[in-house]
Subunit: 393 residues, 2 copies
């Protein structure tokens, strides 16, 4: 096999985007339902807070004029006449214009006040004017924001109730393979659990798409064709899982070719090298290889890349850590290799071990701590080298 003919990951993505474009639409959702959506338009505050004014401290509101020539005798003052109580955030009558912190005031038993001798009074002090906390027209959240709780709080505080968002792209996931059985059944000889549907549903949700997971399709040309037609009619983007390599039952590549334009078959990335990228009826159709790590990787870079472009957001960042390799890490120079990593830590130094499939005594690769992707052209790494590991959630 001539690996130099394989598309690099970014080339495969560019090729898709030359032949297919996301078609984001705006829809309105209730603020309560808006978490995880991407904001379609800048949102601005509809009113100012304070509406008129508010105290910036717990204290008493007074007239500055009473203090213009020094601290007066306040022992006979009466609440509601010379002063009012004004705690943080409280509005108070227009008659008063200045707030003295409660810590500097003693309220006397017979009414009246005693102020600390050294209290300094400035006109308007500790008074928050109209709009000083939030002003009408202030930018609450920017177009392109993936809405989290804090953004919803900002929108609510400025009076936004109906939120214009990018409709989530509907991403269909078709698991294929005669050997597959649904989770919850015990595999017999030759069978395997379809765990990729569970993975895809969760990952698609997390990346901001609406997953539509279809039933398992056997390796039969007619069933695959029908399943793809159904998904094309219901989804914006379709993932066919497995059947991407060259075996007898690998109808899927032929299917993509027969129904539309197969842009690319094979990427310079393992696991998942025989990925197929096609456009059919104006929709992106990606054939992701079946093994679970290949499915993870394909979802993580290709599908996440497509979904982020659809939504108009950058790829999310993951926390990273520098870690020392505990063993040699073989990697072909002509392929990027995704490696699942187990991390350990001693005295503030992190150590990384790759997670080879089938190695006895280790936990399941999908439960690893993080991932590392080897660079194209670099090849294998040696024990003791420092690699950058992305923590997985």
């Amino acid at each position: 096999m001539d690996f130099s003919k394989l598309k690099k990951r970014n080339e495969a993505m560019d090729l898709l985007l030359e032949n297919w474009a996301p078609r984001p639409e705006t829809e309105f959702v209730e603020l309560d339902d808006a978490e995880g959506y991407v904001l379609a338009e800048n949102q601005y505050a509809a009113f100012s807070i304070p509406v008129v004014r508010a105290s910036g401290m717990d204290g008493i509101a007074v007239r500055y004029d009473d203090f213009s020539e020094g601290i007066p005798d306040t022992s006979g003052w009466i609440e509601g006449r010379e002063y009012v109580r004004a705690d943080t955030g409280d509005d108070f009558d227009d008659a008063y214009d200045t707030v003295i912190p409660i810590e500097r005031v003693t309220i006397l038993e017979q009414g009246g006040l005693s102020l600390d001798a050294d209290v300094k009074i400035e006109k308007g002090m500790h008074v928050l004017g109209k709009g000083s906390m939030l002003w009408e027209g202030q930018l609450l959240a920017e177009k392109g924001t993936r809405l989290q709780g804090r953004h919803l709080a900002a929108l609510a505080s400025g009076g936004v109730c109906q939120v214009p968002v990018i409709r989530k792209p509907r991403v269909g996931f078709i698991p294929t393979g005669s050997e597959l059985i649904p989770a919850g059944t015990t595999p017999r000889r030759g069978q395997n659990i379809d765990s990729n549907s569970i993975l895809a549903k969760s990952m698609l949700r997390e990346m901001g798409a609406e997953p539509i997971c279809y039933p398992i399709v056997k390796d039969r040309q007619d069933e695959l064709s029908q399943a793809l037609d159904k998904a094309l009619s219901e989804c914006d983007i379709v993932i066919i899982n497995a059947g991407s390599s060259k075996g007898k039952e690998d109808f899927n590549t032929r299917l993509l070719r027969s129904k539309g334009k197969l842009l690319c078959h094979g990427v310079a990335a393992v696991p998942g090298r025989p990925m197929g990228v096609a456009v059919i009826e104006g929709k992106a159709v990606i054939n992701i290889p079946g093994p679970s790590m290949a499915a993870f990787y394909g979802l993580d870079w290709m599908i996440r890349g497509i979904v982020c472009r659809w939504l108009g957001i950058p790829l999310p960042k993951r926390p990273v850590v520098q870690a020392e390799l505990l063993e040699d890490l073989p990697a072909p120079p002509f392929l990027e290799r995704l490696v699942f990593i187990e991390l350990s830590e001693k005295d503030g130094t992190y150590f990384a071990k790759s997670h080879e499939r089938g190695e006895k005594g280790r936990r399941h690769a999908m439960s690893s701590d993080g991932i590392f992707v080897s660079s194209l052209g670099k090849g294998g790494l040696k024990k003791g080298e420092i690699i950058e590991v992305e923590w997985l959630d």
Copy 2:
């Protein structure tokens, strides 16, 4: 005010944990519902995959004995007699023991096979034995894992359907303040929107708790007392929001003292300094100050810390970036200061601007890019200094 008497954040947490302990319980949830829960026990695979064997390549399965003395004449071979098709993951009959990749095989028109002259045959090659992909008893996911899609896929692949998880702690959130009105109404003079309930609901869910958000309580002693009693009867942990400082209406601190043990009133962290920490009827009750940034900070460090301890998981990591300060950043040396940061980037260098409340022309602080916490004892920072900013999701 003597700031040296304030508890540091870790001291406030330690004090709580000396007087109160999480009481995690295990419950079982369906795999479909398990995302976001914390696994209560190690989970192991119930069976092996392959159950017997599987082909590791797309190819044909043959008997090694036919190749023990070199490559035989295969032109008259018949499928089902001398060989069978065996694609990746396929089981095949016990009569065969070795797989030849399909790329090295040509299937002749009249049946029969032509093998590449240089093909190397080794006994058992490209055959995945029983348990080579997953073995009975393999650790699928570890106790203490916050379950994401990839863990659910691992559990499913090994036959786990009912998942033992830590019950999510029920965290009650009581918004208090006579000035508060619910989101969706327009504030009149002296009113403000309760946006903290929206913030808390989202943040509590994200940290792995079950939020119970109560209606707004006016600043009336009897109503506050009733609301707290209700929350104590329904929740594991209770947050009273606002009413934590020393104003006339700040019943809440007094309330905590009267109903239980007030462990701490005031922490060396702003915003949110007048936080109250109490234990009442064996439950943790935290009084978080009302301003939105104080609420965010209090939820982010104190409540997240408590919830993570309840669940037995480490604090989650955030991506970080080194950024150059574009302006002086005042911070008192005797308090940790949480600063909301706007980041910009030029030629790979990040620049940070703090997000002061009320500064005109800036977006809402809650929509910032990240946060920075100044160190105790360090005080203000100068323009040009490099700070470490945590990206917010």
